[in-house]
Symmetry: C2
Subunit: 207 residues, 2 copies
Amino acid sequence: MAGGTKRLPRAVREQQMLDAAVAVFAEKGFRETAMDTIAAAANISKPMLYLYYGSKDELFAACVNREGSRFIEAMSTGFDPNLKQRDQARTVIYEFLHFVDTNRASWRVLYRVATAQSNFTAIVDASRARLIEMIADLLRRGTTVEATETDFELMAVALVGAGEAVADRITEGDIDLDSATDLVFGMGWHGLAGDKKVTGEHVSQIG
Amino acid sequence: MAGGTKRLPRAVREQQMLDAAVAVFAEKGFRETAMDTIAAAANISKPMLYLYYGSKDELFAACVNREGSRFIEAMSTGFDPNLKQRDQARTVIYEFLHFVDTNRASWRVLYRVATAQSNFTAIVDASRARLIEMIADLLRRGTTVEATETDFELMAVALVGAGEAVADRITEGDIDLDSATDLVFGMGWHGLAGDKKVTGEHVSQIG
């Protein structure tokens, strides 16, 4: 096999193939992506691509796993015990939206493409469940509002849902990250108080 | 064609077929559903099912359209101009979660099955866009908090995302509808104020 890339270490070549695959899957979706296109984008032969990843399904699973790990790692910046819980919550939301803004292909693969493939929804659901648990824990430790375990979990579910929806919108346009962070943060921080403890009149005064 | 159902009016029979199809698609997903199973569940012959709906894709599209309309109709109860905007917002959220709770198969078809089929995501996206516009409008008219058009729209995006995530959780267990409504309502109503105008100390006093 000729070619200038031959002497690259295996690990580097693997990452190059995944970079190419993420970009192509993000653009074309799962079904419309051809292994030929990925091989061409990664500048290797198709047999080599199959040798490394076995099948389109396995290659896609490798993409989802890598991007999922990168995503969770980016999130974890916010879980710094030296920060006040309030600042942790804010940082997690910011890092979430920032990750999406600067890794649009990655987010599209995780959120749009993987969720549209019924055999990959389990992987996405597992990542989401992990994130929800992290957020519920932050809320539990970071608020003085009285709430049950179910309230904290449901709020985390709602916040992750809100965050995903906002993130998806971020990939489509140019939304200001700080405003979006304020908005999602405000939903979580004040939303826990619910309707029972804060009145509409009260909110009117805020504005 | 023999059979006791022959004298049913066409419209009634169509609805029976759709009822059966929604139940089967909700349980098995799109790919795993066989037209035979739907025909059996609807108590008609497979050729008859094809005669009415043409193909599995068209039958599924008919399910998504019908359930989407039922969903939007249930939502519209909340958009009663005799209600204060605040009560409208609360009613819309309650009706949303109530619809999901009492129409689990319908919600599964719309949220889980249709979103997992890349050729149906456009239909789901269109319904979602309509709902987001309705919610943004309520927020715009119902709050005295100063916010830009983008803020209202982004808040509506976030709320719909939060509502979908909570709804999905509702189909999995027995979450109290009133608590869930309070939670999502609180997120929207107080979240618009963001972090800029309400301090953490303030929130602590609420609890």
